[in-house]
Symmetry: D2
Subunit: 348 residues, 4 copies
């Protein structure tokens, strides 16, 4: 009954099998392995982007920071949501990798609107040499609150950025979850909607630790390679990154896993919503739920071994009916039986 | 009729005379000149801080960035007002000098309140290693909107910072203007109210280009010296910085100049407020006014040669009675006759 | 017949098995997994250092850069050999992670001597605020030319550093190879000889990608954690790093693997030395040989499928007897049969 | 009798007069003053470079660091002499401003040779993504040991750089001294010999504190302006920088002052060389002498009030005839009478 995060479950067995298969003989290091050639081709095919530059790194923070550093000068500011991972959860990695750029927070929700983005852009870059200059826009899809931007949303945001000549980056730590939610193609969710660079996540969706960075215009490629190396992110035994991504993409495993976690989350939400005192706004778009549940229900769940984020300090004492907020995330590995057991515990 | 800024007028003649006096014979470079010894002693006396570390640099951005860098680790965030000079007007200098720290904006006005500061501090530093860590608080006195914090305001802000073990920096680009407005001593406006480090401005108040950085606890002294040197801010012919500051502090010139600019500003505000359609909220605390004046009045002033910041793009066309916002700043050199001429032009 | 590097062979099967074993159920992320607790204890035991701070990262460049950044201020210089990996092969990672520190090259060989180190230290830090300040000393063991410092060598170098109050870092990318060559304990090769921090390599010796960073004085621990996070080097699914290190250290696997690669290298060197025209200076200390071999011999080896670094551009044309330099490295996986096949090809 | 440095004497009175003249009325700040327009034109004329980008800063370290940062990526290395000011005397300013680039030391003297430069360039940039990439070449004219490169020397160095597609920067802290020594035009000593960017010094040659940075290809102009601002080097009251440079260039003052200091130095060298036990290699090219003089002579000079750098720790004790090295520098202000008094004291 572990719903704390999708980075805490096991990797899919196919990923481990791929490591074992890759563990044969001698392979060139540092990204020159043959599996990487396959991976690059496969990603270009999946994204319908035959010219794209494609790189692998091991963590999502790295993918975001290196991608953004390649698009951002040190005197610029990156536009993002106030709850963006790059702002809240990377210990100033973007500031570090860009050499001191700033982040400008857009609006007051996880979902940036074109109007809020336009206002934020207009608010910067009007002071000549004195203020920060306008830099790229970073969009998180699935957002940090579990929402999925529609394709029209994405197009409107990138059009706004383009009005000012700005590039856009997609933080796709949960790329697959968004994709299956929208039922579109990778190209449709990215460059066909104006996205310039993508952090394409694997770690949260069944891999051990691998993310791709994709530039649809390969101009920053060499610079990216140097940034990756001097950041310490170029693996000598790179084949083990490649093998993870290879297995992740093979036979649409990545889509299957995302469908599983989204479906698990829907089952969980549907079950919870039927319980008295539980409030969930809307359907969860992907595999993450923000909900309010009565204190007594939380207490029962914790006592039964449920693990998830209760966003309150007052679990232990207070009105048993008081609604306390919580975040629940399903990963690919969560069986329906566990979800049902959790719901039973919630029910009491 | 120049009210655009207090960095555009002439330097006081005493400052230039001091340069000429200093221009005798050979002097040790790099801050080891005898005048600097005098200046250090004088500042320690003025601030009643015999142990303070005292340094000179040539620009306000430098004073702020170097002072903050000495108090801030790269993984921390600096708390400041959303209109702070360090946020809006230094082209990411604090981010650069700290090696990639972040700025967290406190509240939504130029004057931080203890409650807003507490909320901002509480909002950071709760995510362990993931989020930015809490860094120092930077307070601007006079604020960028012309307000002066009372001594109680300052004490309450530094007490809030201290509750979390955080240091405070005072951006005193207009230190003297605030001091004469409050009628207190330098010590009362700084360390007696809990301030740890000060950017003590001279440039905007009659100097050519000199600011002191003062640390009441001299622990960061050597680190500051290294930061200043590698930032390119250590002058070989340092005596010309020292001489400016020496003359600025001699015979209370700095206080006289600040009184002049504050008085000029009061005269200007009082005259404007008497005119129909002009709105000024409150008395200007120091030497800066934010006001609204009718479009036609702006047009008359511009036509008559008035120079100041009209904070609107629609000066030329529209309802003549529509109120357009503006900022006016008085420097020490503005004679009453010019102010009166400006008021006459406003009157039409 | 792959002797190009010890980062190109397969991982030991026990490492892969450990990943599979670790791939059960849900585990706290970001270094809070239970396996990491075991690994920390085990490393403290092995190093007889119960207070040591112990962290895992995925690459050697990261281990070095983060360890050095924790010991070096941006205005300092790091003392190292002119062929140090941190100088030649990390694309300015130390400069990046330290925020702009410098590297001062010591002497003209891979093995620093105390005299050369003393001369280098004396050459810096004498210009007050003007020059770079003296920072830590970084020693590579096994050196980049395959040499192993004796315990007395290490003690003499760290004593020299300590004379100036400087810390020492050991780049132990091939730590195990050096240890078995010296036949001493980890404590004897590190803190008992004055070393303050160690990059303890696993990747080149049979792991997939894992290195430990060890600080014998744990003072920099929290700073290191923040540096690791904002560098993007904190793995969410950290258990897969922990599991590698766990298996690496279990049952002295790490020592066995190092003994195998050293023995393979000795067999190779002994076989080569017996051939006419081959020159190897001294016994290889560990698992790396620098040698000169006749051009014709190189040509035969390449034709037979031998892979290794020929340090010359003139393989194809020239006197068949001319000696061309080369580097050969044995990893743990190289069977004697392959070595013998290589020697047979060399013999022609 | 002050021969310690050319940054310790007075500024020329014309420079101070210019400040006074500039101190009239209100002027746009931040480089938009009318005097700067004149200065830019004048420098373009003097350098026969009508398109050049021209900026002013207050210190030589700043000029070098900002100019180099505009030409250098963080993963590159700058080629310079081992005694270059940027290496020895700027406390890692180039590393700081470039965001972590490296310096590669060329040869073992103050004068780089094309052969040594070629060898240094060949030694870098051959390791793909692993090593630092090749960056610009920085040439100091006058060198830190008082030598002046000939025009052919400069052409040969820049041709070598260009062979590898590298840019060249001239550190001209003593630009005027070199120029009058060579008797050529500014264009001949710079872009006509292949130089791309110049730090054009004023501070050491009679100014208070002003240096120009000149890019013959203005492409980096906007980036430079942003770097200057966020470095804290953009003066609000910029007219006082402009005025110094205006007066410095007017009526060839800059050339007169350089001729005076070079002539004073020649007089000093000639007088010293006539004394028994004094050794000076060659004629001093500009205004700096490296010499050996007997210990007893040094003792007499110090006793008489002579101030200069004795490059030995053993002034006080030892053989009176032992030759101890020293550096002597003449600035523009040194009268012949003082030089003769110094020579008399040396003679004893």
């Amino acid at each position: 009954m572990f719903f704390a995060s999708d980075n805490s479950g096991p990797a899919h067995p196919a990923i481990l099998d791929a490591l074992t298969r890759a563990n044969e003989g001698y392979a060139m290091g540092y990204g020159d392995d043959a599996i990487m050639d396959e991976v690059r081709d496969r990603i270009r095919t999946i994204f319908e982007a035959p010219e794209a530059a494609v790189y692998l790194v091991a963590t999502g923070t790295t993918a975001n920071a290196l991608a953004l550093a390649s698009l951002t000068a040190p005197w610029q500011t990156i536009f993002c949501s106030p709850v963006a991972h790059i702002h809240e959860d990377e210990c100033n990695a973007p500031e570090f990798y860009t050499g001191g750029a700033k982040l400008t927070l857009v609006g007051d929700s996880d979902r940036m609107t074109p109007a809020a983005l336009r206002a934020a852009i207009e608010g910067e870059g009007n002071r000549g040499v004195h203020g920060p200059q306008r830099g790229p826009v970073s969009i998180t899809q699935v957002t940090e609150r579990g929402h999925v931007y529609t394709l029209d949303d994405l197009a409107a945001l990138t059009a706004t950025a383009r009005d000012y000549g700005l590039k856009t980056h997609l933080d796709g730590a949960r790329f697959a979850n968004a994709l299956v939610a929208l039922g579109c193609t990778p190209a449709e969710m990215t460059w066909k909607r104006g996205i310039d660079a993508v952090s394409f996540g694997g770690t949260k969706n069944g891999c051990i630790g691998v993310e791709a960075v994709i530039f649809f215009d390969p101009a920053p490629a060499w610079e990216f390679e140097l940034r990756r190396k001097r950041g310490g992110h170029l693996f000598s035994k790179h084949r083990y990154l490649s093998a993870q991504m290879q297995a992740y993409l093979a036979d649409d495993l990545w889509l299957d896993l995302a469908r599983r976690s989204n479906a698990g989350c829907a089952r969980l939400a549907s079950g919870l919503r039927a319980l008295p005192g539980v409030r969930i706004d809307g359907t969860p778009d992907a595999n993450m739920i923000y909900t309010h549940m009565p204190r007594a229900m939380h207490q029962r769940l914790v006592a039964a071994g449920g693990v998830y984020h209760i966003l309150s300090d007052t679990l232990d004492s207070g009105d048993p009916d008081e609604a306390l907020p919580a975040r629940l995330v399903c990963d690919w590995s969560m069986p329906d039986s566990e979800i049902d057991r959790f719901l039973a515990a919630a029910r009491g």
